[in-house]
Subunit: 428 residues, 2 copies
């Protein structure tokens, strides 16, 4: 937490110094002066009226943890990033969920009483639902991540501006989503034999659409109207959106108004197919690259943070995979020479953020911190070199604004220098 | 969702009627007019600027789901209630977490850089932590409910105003909490042999304190600085609070500034011991009544809601227990004559909300809906009669303003009349 904001109203009557040394677990300091600590009454009688509403609460005015604009913005899009460096647990607060806005438009204002969801195409019984009707159907609540295809530093791309974990990994967020499984809806509609694909379409101005194989949709796709215990936020698709667990963000169609069952992928003009090129495919493009490979990042300590002094620190971060549950996270504090298995937050959810933890005592020397995860399918997160080889990247040759790139899941190194400054080792 | 707010800016160009009958699963309607549904573009091009901030997002301006004041307020306290009727999943949005404010004060404004946590008393090494130092220690993230002792209708009390599930059960909420286990802190401090209790004290103006046996504190108590992925909200104890999983709300000391290890419960003047009287204790009061017994309530349909017509509905609600994990929830739709086992949201967390679901087809006749849960210890939620007998309540004899009462966990009946109106059956 970078609480730099000052509240002039707060009386700073207590100027005593309680700690002469950090309370590092490796050598906790016994401190006298208990009377002075008990006397700390300075702030307690000042009401926090700026952070209080009896109807709907807000964060403390001391908190400066907010989304920020992405570096290297695409010209046609505005992207704001989740502040992963201050994240705790596995839930991203809805107010801090990352966001991509085409044409820099605000999200559409959709009256939930006017909105309809249409299920049609190669089905026996076309169906239309109001939001209230959808809410009467059997529902599920599941924790899933959503990650933009453009998240994380691109091999060979322009790395300037990617200093913090918000900048390198801020286009991924995780929520408890509530809604109706697409399989429930399609079984009611009765999918015809030829119905092997679906097209999902949003009610936003751009009418975003996306084709998906029936098998994926029937597995665990969800039409979600709830996010973290309340209605989906307008920025996230209010009043309803597709959740395509583990898939690239663009499959999670917001403002969902239509699911059409079709017999092939239609490659509509409005679809970003993002065809990916891999050298061993001999020039043929990988049109359908759906699921995120295992990916993790240390969120604390991370780029831009400062370790005040040598001693005990908990290293913590997030791991996730489109392949299912995270099985293992390993952490290296010596630049990849040795790895230790990290503790995982219990329980582990499929296709969701997993929080990991490792105890570490910093000796005051240079250190490079990295995390590497393995998912339930046995797939392992890749190093930059392994990733570049797989996708045929040549360092320095990729222009982030013209190359469609692939879904980057490289191991992120953070370098700690002798002054305790933490930097993105890719920029050094 | 009661979206009564109107947005004058929204063009309501689409006046076509898509549905002539509800999409009840028991008889879903095949609907023509697909062209008209595809044509619904009315709201999509109007940006929702009122619900959008690039830095920190907010709910849709169509949403009217907010906290409301509790009925039958205590004179010395302001209570606002979580809108359970619109809840989904198991996480309560931090902005909708219930709230008790003594003297109607706003929460205190506490500068996190000035705040200190003191561990002292019968320990070998007294310790003081800043927030940043606390965050360096090994942490946990766990989902737990907090419930005010005064939640839910009191047997024999004044029931007027308890019409909705927000009013009957709104003083309970559930969050993902992140922080350091008290056992971690106390092991570092070194608890002395005589240290059998702790006293936790807040930095609020009233210096709220609470005594707890060492065994409970060492089990799973946590000093939390994180709530639902960000800093604890000021209303919930910013910058840090005690989490006492499964215990009555008052043990979860907000604005925590001190944990003192002591050799007995001190019954300090500021403690609300809430001594409970039970007939079989022969006049001796039950001073220490910590844990919530198993409790559940149907949130949808619930009091004040309206079923538009006969047909399929999903019944859903919340169950929780201080005794650990919920093992089973049963639902009756015939006033308690028969019970069916409900489906539980997976995974089930200990001492947390569990979401349950049951398919139901309403035949248009009068119905009384109830839920009853069982926890991992085999304890079963009580009927009003069973509860009144256990605690010696005589219907009509209790004044909510003078009797300390007990922690009510009675089965809540909702009555559906032939017009589909849902009412609190205790008020009929």
């Amino acid at each position: 937490m970078d609480s730099t904001e000052k509240d002039a109203k707060v009386k700073q009557s207590s100027r005593r110094r309680f700690l002469t040394q950090g309370a590092a677990l490796a050598g906790l300091t016994a401190v006298g002066g208990i009377r002075s600590a008990r006397g700390q009454k300075s702030e307690s009688r000042v009401p926090d009226e700026r952070s209080y509403s009896s109807f709907y609460g807000v964060p403390s005015h001391f908190e400066s943890t907010v989304r920020e604009m992405a570096p290297n913005q695409y010209p046609h899009m505005l992207s704001t990033l989740t502040p992963q460096q201050d994240s705790v647990g596995i839930i991203t607060p809805s107010g801090l969920h990352f966001l991509n806005l085409r044409n820099h438009d605000a999200p559409p204002s959709i009256d939930p009483q006017q909105h309809r969801l249409l299920i049609h195409g190669l089905v026996d019984r076309p169906l239309i639902f109001t939001l209230e009707e959808l809410k009467r159907l059997p529902s599920v609540s599941r924790i899933h991540f959503i990650e933009c295809r453009g998240n994380t530093i691109w091999p060979g791309g322009n790395h300037s501006g990617f200093r913090t974990v918000q900048e390198t990994h801020g286009k991924a967020s995780c929520s408890e989503w509530t809604g109706v499984l697409v399989s429930t809806l399609l079984r009611e509609a009765g999918v015809q034999k030829e119905g092997t694909w679906i097209i999902a379409e949003g009610a936003d101005a751009g009418h975003h659409v996306k084709s998906t194989p029936m098998e994926m949709a029937m597995d665990d796709f969800m039409v979600a109207y709830g996010q973290n215990g309340e209605a989906v936020r307008p920025e996230q698709g209010y009043p309803m959106r597709m959740i395509a667990p583990g898939s690239v963000g663009i499959f999670n169609v917001k403002y969902l108004r239509r699911i059409k069952v079709v017999d092939q992928p239609y490659m509509l003009a409005a679809e970003n197919t993002y065809a990916d090129l891999r050298p061993n495919l001999q020039g043929k493009r990988l049109w359908f690259n759906y699921y995120w490979q295992p990916k993790s990042v240390i969120t604390r300590p991370s780029g831009g943070q400062q370790l005040p002094r040598p001693g005990f620190y908990e290293i913590t971060g997030l791991a996730w995979s489109g392949g299912g549950a995270i099985r293992k996270v390993e952490v290296s504090t010596d630049g990849g020479q040795t790895w230790k298995e990290a503790r995982l937050q219990d329980p582990v959810h499929r296709k969701a953020f997993s929080r990991f933890f490792l105890d570490w005592t910093w000796d005051g020397q240079e250190a490079v911190l990295q995390s590497r995860c393995t998912d339930e399918q046995g797939d392992v997160q890749k190093s930059m070199d392994e990733f570049a080889e797989l996708w045929g990247y040549k360092p320095g040759s990729i222009d982030i604004n013209t190359n469609s790139g692939a879904m980057v899941n490289v191991i992120q190194p953070w370098k700690v220098d002798r002054e305790g400054r933490v930097e993105n080792a890719f920029l050094i």
